[in-house]
């Protein structure tokens, strides 16, 4: 009895973990578990979400709009979580267009269907107008929205290159559906826009910002920037003072043509160097006004201004007009 007890005690002693003792046998293999439910991996806190975003971004398998930016993926996962989408589904269903998350039409319909609030959906198209009618649980009035080619024309979509030319019927249907979904199931979509609709807004398709400047540049805009409307071709050599090339040397030698007496430091040439050309005119008229002795001098400056007015930016002409007005007032006051 006593021996047994000792043996037991020894056994117990041997089983106690010894800090410097390597276990004689490898740890038993974990038991293979079966019968678990397949479910999405859902992060439960911000760190987990970010790690997941990082992993997806690093894998290079996130949709193109997210690139390899873990921050964008993180925002996509967050936006999806708010409407009940699992992380990877969220990235597939939510597009970031112009920095705003928006859900693709199919994803939005999936959300609404899984919410259990959609009783039925009817979609028709008569070749010109698409109609989408949705029946919502607990709401007797159906939600009906239409989108016609006339609407598409007004919105500048009809004939636009891309899907509006290739699949107009599908695009009409998506637009009618997106309006019905947004109006009838705002609580499910929680303010998410529909990607197809957002993408059609001017300047949004390629990541532009809708609040920014007009996307397409036109000749009229260039003319506006130039401050003058140039609708006729300009001949550079007609002496209109735009840009004159180097003179033809064989027409007789002038020193400056050969550059030998001209090193760029001559003060008398400064006016020629002024860019733009009108700058010199403005300077000259301003100087004339500051040195005007008589009313005739002021009027002469005014006449000079009228001669070059068309070449000046509006603001400069207005400034000179003000200066002339001030000079006249001052001169009259002095005379009085």
């Amino acid at each position: 009895m006593n021996e047994v007890t000792t043996a037991d005690a020894q056994q117990v002693e041997q089983q106690k973990p010894q800090p410097d003792q390597v276990p004689a046998r490898a740890t038993p293999r974990p038991v293979v578990q079966a019968g678990g439910t397949i479910s999405a991996m859902i992060p439960t806190d911000i760190d987990q979400a970010f790690r997941l975003a990082n992993a997806i971004a690093m894998s290079g398998m996130a949709p193109k709009a997210y690139g390899t930016d873990p921050n964008k993926c993180f925002v996509g996962i967050l936006a999806g979580a708010e409407v009940g989408l699992a992380p990877f589904t969220a990235l597939q269903s939510i597009a970031v267009i112009g920095n705003n998350p928006a859900i693709w039409g199919d994803g939005a319909l999936a959300l609404i269907q899984s919410s259990g609030l959609l009783v039925d959906i009817e979609e028709t198209d008569d070749g010109d107008t698409a109609t989408c009618t949705m029946y919502r649980k607990g709401k007797p009035t159906p939600i009906t929205r239409t989108f016609s080619m006339d609407d598409a024309k007004k919105a500048g979509l009809a004939g636009k290159s891309g899907p509006w030319s290739q699949y107009p019927q599908r695009m009409r249907q998506m637009r009618a559906r997106s309006w019905a979904m947004r109006d009838g199931f705002a609580d499910v979509l929680k303010g998410l826009h529909i990607a197809e609709e957002v993408r059609d807004r001017p300047g949004m398709a390629d990541g532009g910002d809708i609040s920014s400047k007009p996307h397409r540049l036109s000749s009229a805009m260039l003319a506006q920037q130039a401050g003058t409307v140039v609708d006729q071709p300009i001949d550079l050599h007609d002496g209109d003072g735009v840009v004159i090339g180097a003179e033809e040397p064989e027409q007789g030698r002038a020193d400056e043509d050969h550059g030998d007496q001209f090193d760029g430091n001559e003060p008398e040439r400064e006016d020629e160097a002024a860019i733009p050309r009108w700058h010199a005119d403005v300077q000259r008229i301003t100087d004339d006004l500051y040195t005007a002795q008589t009313m005739a001098d002021i009027k002469a400056a005014g006449a000079e201004l009228d001669k070059v007015r068309v070449t000046l930016p509006e603001a400069e002409a207005a400034r000179l007009d003000r200066l002339i007005g001030d000079a006249k007032t001052a001169f009259q006051a002095k005379g009085a």
Binding site: D206, K213, R216, Q224, Q225, H258, P313
Partner: protein, 319 residues
């Protein structure tokens, strides 16, 4: 050495040579758009080698080479200043006509000594033809008036604090004044193959013009508080018939350029923080790296056995 520019801002009077080569242009080494492109397309070491940090930096060719594109570009943008940089040789000029043209030869020698670019009479006619062609396009002309050429912009990167610099060919007053429409134009003289929309699209990728635009945009934003609203390329064909085309850069490609620039600026800042000596600016790889066949070649070999067979089979498959 006192820096030429000591504070962020726009400077109109910095000589081109100083902008490109002066070691004391700014309080510290700086990165330009072309530097950023070198860092990305080649390596930090290549950038270092052609920067003032390299004590043995190769000398720039002192006699400026004549380039029709550059001369026409300058003729349009520099206006009256053009003659300060160029000297046109008279018709029939030859350096050995010492008896017939002694004055002309003396003038040309003097101009060359001043660092001016010499242009032959015939070449000048070509320059004028090209400039005329641009002048005949009202939109192109409008894009190139009412602004300041060759403005030097210097600013510090908000993220890393390093000095950045840019020198847009032409900065319109609309940008400086913060007008509603702010179009920055870039005149490009291109080989005929790069002038069509598809050709220019390839040129954008090959030469990284979108990166330059993004770089300039950041500089303009840092200094004037607002970015340009549009980027316009005025693409002029170098050879006959000198077509002039106007292409704008899509905002998304500007964003791509900005993304690439960020990588370059960060790498520049990282190397600079380690030092200005060559060993701190790594070339392509420091450790042995695996370099294999391109994906298309792998696929061709895996599918057809060899590239030759792939070519023969592809040729018949297309029928």
């Amino acid at each position: 050495m006192t820096p030429i520019i000591s504070a962020p801002g726009a400077y109109a009077d910095i000589p081109m040579a100083d902008y490109h080569r002066a070691a004391n242009l700014l309080p510290g080494p700086s990165l330009s758009s072309s530097g950023a492109k070198t860092i990305l397309s080649q390596s930090a070491f290549h950038f270092w080698a052609d920067s003032p940090m390299n004590p043995d930096r190769p000398e720039e060719d002192s006699a400026p080479h004549f380039a029709v594109g550059k001369a026409a570009h300058d003729l349009l943008l520099l206006g009256g200043d053009w003659k300060r940089a160029y000297h046109v040789l008279p018709e029939g000029f030859a350096w050995n006509k010492t008896k017939a043209m002694p004055e002309e030869i003396a003038a040309a020698e003097h101009a060359r000594a001043k660092g001016k670019t010499l242009i032959k009479h015939d070449d000048m006619q070509l320059v004028e033809r090209i400039a005329d062609r641009i002048g005949a396009n009202p939109a192109a002309r409008n894009a190139l008036v009412n602004g300041i050429p060759e403005m030097t912009l210097a600013w510090q990167d908000a993220e890393t604090g390093v000095w950045l610099r840019a020198r847009p060919d032409f900065l319109p007053y609309s940008v400086i004044n913060g007008d509603e429409i702010r179009v920055v134009s870039d005149l490009k003289f291109m080989a005929s193959s790069h002038c069509s929309p598809s050709g220019f699209s390839r040129a954008l990728a090959n030469f990284g013009y979108h990166q330059s635009c993004a770089f300039y945009a950041d500089g303009i934003k840092a200094i004037y508080g607002r970015e340009p609203t549009h980027w316009l390329f005025i693409v002029v064909e170098k050879d006959d018939p000198h077509s002039v085309s106007l292409y704008t850069l899509p905002p998304a490609d500007l964003a791509r350029g900005r993304h690439q620039n960020r990588k370059a600026i960060n790498l520049f800042a990282e190397c600079l923080s380690r030092g200005t000596e060559a060993q701190h600016w790594p070339a392509y790889t420091a450790e042995p790296e695996m370099v294999g066949l391109p994906a298309w070649a792998r696929k061709a070999i895996d599918t057809y056995g060899s590239l030759q067979e792939a070519a023969l089979i592809s040729a018949t498959e297309g029928e």
